[in-house]
Symmetry: C2
Subunit: 172 residues, 2 copies
DNA sequence: AATCACCTACCTACTGATAGGTAATTTATA
DNA sequence: TATAAATTACCTATCAGTAGGTAGGTGATT
């Protein structure tokens, strides 16, 4: 893994635990074994790092989702795939959704970071709208916002109360 | 308003925009016209201030909700009251729910602050469980966690995308 | 006399960021 | 092919600013 990738990985872990201000160039540098000044070589400013992190997180998340049509063709409900991806983030990583956390504090984020967080939700809503349409929902746009809201909220509360049961109860 | 109350008010505004790390003793002091060292007279540490803020926010929120039974007796659905309180926070204050934001970053919070955030959700779930029970829901506990998850999530996404329409679409 | 509600002055630790330097590698030119 | 130029990926050293927190002092109120 390149140093740049290692920096993004370390930053993701920190942000998913405590938000944008929960990581510093020094901490990141120490963790991967370089100096804090060298982090600026890869990312001119902290906002650049945050924006690239959110962008990459979004792309990866959408890629993991696959195509709703493909799931349906395989006899699976695309919404189950979506729910499972959220649950994995919570159970395996034991952390919040990166953009769920950044979204909550989006008012205080640098513009370019906030823009990437918006992009995450726009892309998620598009995917979910498609999924609900395939499922024959009469109002797929509404169902989409309800699905992502429920999952993000359940994730946050389950994480806060430190009990996966809340997430499971909310989503099944 | 006492200086202490003014400090809590100023802190609430900051936290609801950017989380626990979005306020400092210096900023708070400047805003209300005292020195940062004097803030320590009212709150020994930042964690003490954060915990008292979350505690007071919770008490106020629950008090605003009133009793589910009383609403039902007045011919109103307690869940509409609950939804309206969330919507007001978003539309009037144009800010996130304090504990929604703190919950998202709860992993990095001081213990006493996190405990108060937990208390917020425990109290909310109790109120909602009661409300759903009154409404004749077959599984009031599940309905309660679903309600608060949906509202917290919709609030976060509406705030992020800066469009109240998402909240309305998710909740009506 | 004690308590309250502040104050000045200060501390250590950490923040993101910059300037300027270096060895190793890669690319362009003669 | 040999040499020169440029680029990469770091480094040391340092900066101004901000963080939370502390010691000790002051005038007003109780």
């Amino acid at each position: 893994m390149t140093k740049k990738a290692a920096l993004l990985k370390a930053a993701e872990n920190k942000v998913r635990l405590g938000g944008y201000s929960n990581f510093s160039f020094r901490e990141l540098a120490n963790e991967i074994g370089i100096k804090s000044a060298s982090v600026h070589y890869h990312f001119p400013t902290k906002a650049d790092l945050g924006a690239e992190l959110a962008h990459q997180y979004t792309d990866n998340f959408i890629a993991m989702l696959g195509e709703p049509q493909a799931h349906k063709a395989n006899g699976k409900n695309p919404l189950d795939i979506y729910t499972q991806l959220f649950k994995n983030a919570l159970v395996i990583d034991k952390k919040m959704c990166l953009c769920g956390l950044l979204g909550a504090e989006s008012d205080s984020l640098p513009d370019k970071v906030r823009d990437e967080v918006k992009r995450f939700f726009i892309k998620n809503l598009a995917w979910l709208t498609q999924a609900h349409k395939i499922n024959g929902e009469p109002d797929p746009e509404r169902a989409a916002i309800q699905t992502v809201s429920l999952l993000e909220g359940a994730m946050m509360i389950s994480n806060t109360l430190d009990d996966i049961h809340y997430f499971e109860q909310a989503t099944f």
